[in-house]
């Protein structure tokens, strides 16, 4: 198997913690992984992405080639579209619905929404609203991960185990909140995916 994932968003949104959990889950299953990250200047509110590659065979390139990404997971809708040429023709986009506007020329949201709507396999999820409703405001990225679980084809129990491992040092209540977030994301995705 091979699974090429582009994680993207705005510097500071926390895409790397999603990557850490997926990476841990893949490692636990004895798979190969390579994960290229962005450090430095862009982390100051610029666009950031991470190429996460998982395979049952050794992986050569640290970067994903055009048209090869199986899933784009984005914490921001315009950022999801930025990497469109990377997506495989039967790939999935899982994106947070709410825009992060920190630039003066952010495009009209109608444009962004309509472009996303034209794609065949998209899940748009308002992670901020869900997090707020369930009083887990700091777990938006894990809600997004939950929504991506099926598209990723990753074992749900394994993701839960990785969440336990990674958040363990932050205490049981943080672990519980993130497990809840994962479940909420998955539940949403079951009922709201577009597949043409």
């Amino acid at each position: 198997m091979k699974l090429d994932i582009i994680l993207c968003g705005v510097g500071g949104q926390g895409i790397l913690s999603i990557a850490t959990i997926i990476g841990d889950a893949a490692m636990a299953q004895g798979l190969y992984i390579k994960q290229a990250e962005v450090h430095g200047m862009s982390q100051r509110g610029g666009d950031v992405h991470s190429d996460l590659r998982i395979s049952s065979q050794p992986i050569a390139s640290d970067l994903i080639a055009k048209g090869q990404a199986d899933v784009i997971i984005s914490l921001e809708p315009m950022e999801a579209l930025r990497y469109l040429p990377m997506l495989s023709l039967d790939g999935w986009i899982i994106t947070a619905a709410a825009p992060f506007v920190n630039i003066p020329d952010y495009p009209d949201m109608k444009e962004i929404d309509s472009q996303l709507a034209q794609l065949s396999q998209v899940i748009r999820i308002d992670v901020t609203a869900i997090a707020k409703e369930h009083q887990i405001p700091r777990c938006t990225n894990i809600i997004l991960l939950g929504a991506a679980q099926e598209a990723l084809g990753m074992d749900y129990t394994q993701l839960e185990m990785s969440i336990r491992t990674i958040f363990a040092r932050k205490g049981e209540s943080v672990v519980a909140m993130n497990l809840r977030a994962l479940a909420l994301g998955r539940e949403y995705a079951k009922h709201h995916q577009t597949r043409k």
Partner: protein, 540 residues
């Protein structure tokens, strides 16, 4: 006594090299933070074995002090690692080039992270030119595992040939994670003096002898490259073309040919270039494609300036882009292979450049300065390297230059000499101690008509909040350099102090001579990090 511990861990390329260095028995790492190199030192600082062994790892003031300190450690027979970003090597160049003249006693590895595509840098210079210039060996890993293995090899090589070894890494490997398997952990070296103490005194008479020896050593270094397990000649059935793949380029080659490359391949991870293997390849094939991240270093050496009997393809021929990093896509294209079918770029995608954080003290400082300077249409602001370089972007558009570490003060002084007024320098606290102090001394000595703003956020912010060497010392440093205390001001850049700050800025710009204003307020990011750390400290 060495201990065996083999396990698989997921690490960045930088961390793999850092761990390799610890396991190679280093006694110290010396560095100034700079993307993409920072994680090497941070990893060593946080590693339990490094703590147990009391490996020296405090950040240095700049790359030159780091390089020289490492050379001193090597003098005592201990193994030393120096780490920097590519442009840092310009700062350390005097020490680096001359360390090839003194040679190394304990293994000395100079790890330099290049940044092709300039993700976080002002140029994309290729450090391999420096090691060729200094005539020392270079190693260039292609993967995280190789980064771990090759740095251990580099320390052994350094001791075997008695020279520093440059380890070159590029951004993509530095900042990409993969699992590695660790191997033997070596002890630190015992204290021992160099065999030939004279060699370390670079007086002309000694230097001339030593230089001859260094030149003679080059033959041996070529043999080392030929024997190196990190260089590999892999024969291929299709002799139309041979491929030379340096460092991480090898991965993109393998990505292009998942079932194996049909052409003969020379994978290079150690330099100087071994002529013998290159000659074998060129005698067998019609043309050679050179894949290398950064500048056309190998390609230029193969081509020379005269016609060559063999066609060499690469960045100079446009087969690969002349600038920017290698990607799986541009390597595929170099082979004439098709990329997978994909969608076009989306429309309506706006650029999202990095920006100063909300609540950043630099922002207040620039806002105040901008307002004051509206009264002086000829004003120019010479800025420097750090978060505050982002003051160039809208809405601030507050600066007119950013060149290299420290250039704000010296350029402002040169411009003041040329008659510019107001000539303003804006420099951060860490950059000031890195390379601004000497320039300030020059300016003070001639009482240059300029205003220096040391925007002090109490940390090295851009690289993630490392301690800043001059914290709590800036007033003393400026006065110690001879600044008139009447023209030294410390302010707190907050909106509520705006009128006071503007008044001081105007007053000092109008003063005919040198003034220093220090707006001081802790970095917002650092404030958050400190808050996060506090409960953890309590728990321990």
């Amino acid at each position: 006594m060495s201990q065996n511990q083999t396990k698989k861990i997921l690490v960045l390329g930088n961390e793999a090299a850092a761990l390799g260095a610890i396991h190679a028995g280093i006694s110290g790492v010396y560095a100034y933070p700079g993307t993409p190199s920072t994680e090497v030192t941070e990893y060593i600082q946080g590693h339990p074995l490094a703590a147990r062994r009391q490996i020296k790892s405090t950040w240095c003031t700049n790359e030159k002090t780091a390089m020289e300190t490492a050379l001193g450690l090597s003098y005592t027979g201990k193994r030393a690692l120096v780490v920097m970003k590519h442009v840092g090597l310009n700062v350390a160049a005097d020490a680096f080039v001359n360390s090839a003249m003194t040679g190394a006693n304990g293994g000395l590895v100079v790890m330099v992270c290049d940044d092709p595509s300039m993700h976080s840098s002002q140029n994309e210079q290729d450090s391999r030119f420096y090691s060729k210039f200094a005539m020392v060996p270079t190693v260039e890993p292609s993967s995280q595992q190789e980064a771990y293995d090759i740095i251990k090899h580099a320390f052994d090589l350094s001791e075997r040939v008695g020279l520093p070894v440059l380890l070159r890494m590029t951004t993509r490997l530095a900042h990409s994670r993969a699992a590695i398997t660790t191997s033997d952990v070596r002890d630190e070296n015992d204290f021992h003096f160099p065999e030939n103490p004279q060699q370390w005194i670079l007086l002309p008479a000694i230097s001339r002898k030593r230089y001859k020896k260094l030149v003679d050593l080059q033959f041996e270094l070529g043999i080392e490259s030929r024997k190196s397990l990190f260089n590999q000649y892999i024969n291929g059935s299709d002799k139309h073309m041979g491929v030379i793949a340096c460092g991480i380029a090898y991965n993109y080659l393998m990505e292009s040919y998942p079932d194996g490359c049909p052409y003969p391949v020379y994978k290079i991870s150690q330099y100087p270039l071994d002529r013998t293997v290159l000659a074998t390849m060129t005698s067998e094939v019609d043309k050679v494609l050179v894949l290398e991240d950064g500048q056309p270093f190998v390609e230029e050496q193969l081509v020379g300036i005269m016609d060559t009997p063999i066609t060499v393809l690469g960045r100079l021929t446009g087969t690969l882009p002349r600038t920017g990093e290698l990607t799986p896509d541009n390597v595929l294209a170099a082979f004439g292979l098709e990329t997978a079918p994909h969608l076009d770029e989306a429309s309506h995608i706006a650029n999202r450049p990095p920006a100063l954080c909300t609540g950043c003290g630099h922002f207040d400082m620039y806002s105040d300065l901008n307002e004051v300077l509206t009264q002086y249409p000829s004003a120019k602001v010479f800025s420097d390297i750090g978060c505050y370089t982002l003051g160039a972007l809208p809405p601030l558009r507050a600066i007119d230059s950013c060149v290299d570490m420290g250039a704000s003060i010296t350029m402002a002084r040169g411009a003041a000499d040329g008659g510019l007024h107001p000539s303003v320098a804006v420099i951060g606290d860490s950059t000031f101690t890195h390379s601004g102090m000497t320039g300030l001394l020059d300016a003070i000595n001639v009482n240059a008509n300029m205003t220096v703003i040391i925007s002090d956020n109490l940390t090295t912010a851009m690289t993630g909040g490392q301690p800043s060497a001059g914290t709590n010392k800036f007033e003393a440093i400026c006065q110690g350099l001879g600044l008139d205390a009447a023209h030294l001001h410390v302010v707190v850049p907050l909106p509520k102090n705006r009128e006071e700050i503007k008044r001081i800025m105007k007053q000092e710009i109008d003063y005919h001579g040198l003034s220093v204003i220090i707006p001081r307020r802790e970095c917002i990011q650092q404030l958050v990090r400190n808050k996060k750390q506090q409960p953890t400290t309590k728990n321990q």
